[in-house]
Symmetry: C2
Subunit: 92 residues, 2 copies
């Protein structure tokens, strides 16, 4: 299953931490505050637990969507997706 994580978090350090967790779980950055990738249900639950710990007590929210393959391919992109990371972590 594809998993889309979007977040709205003000403190920089927590936002970086959340991005790091998304990367740890193999997701790829598609926007400054959005990550997409494929994940098992088990891994998604692990990631969710880490994200919960990361933003405890912080103003903001993280939303995790599950999008099945045929629908994720319907994504429409307007404008240019920049390369958010130097080296390696390419957008798809």
């Amino acid at each position: 299953m594809h998993v889309l994580v979007i977040y709205d978090i003000t403190p920089d350090n927590i936002r970086f931490k959340v991005a790091g967790i998304c990367k740890d779980f193999g997701l790829v950055r598609i926007q400054k505050s959005a990550f997409l990738g494929i994940m098992t249900s088990e891994r998604r639950k692990e990631m969710k637990a880490r994200l919960e710990r990361a933003i405890r007590g912080v103003k903001g929210n993280i939303q995790i969507f599950q999008i099945p393959e045929p629908y994720v391919s319907l994504r429409e992109i307007i404008g240019e997706i920049e390369e958010y990371e130097e080296g390696g972590d390419l957008v798809f």
Copy 2:
């Protein structure tokens, strides 16, 4: 079909314009730069055309996902969704 619009746009005025278009098409703000709602395919195409015009020549991107009903209900929310708008436009 549920439609999720996420965007990553730097200029304030263009970002506000994009948010306004999402609202015009009946979407509801779920994060500072994310809107969700139900829309026909025809309306989605109209919205896409307006969004394309809005960000022409601007650095940034808008991504439109289509998520069918049973999957949109699987959304997991960590933290609190604030009320992004004063009056009216409640989050769901």
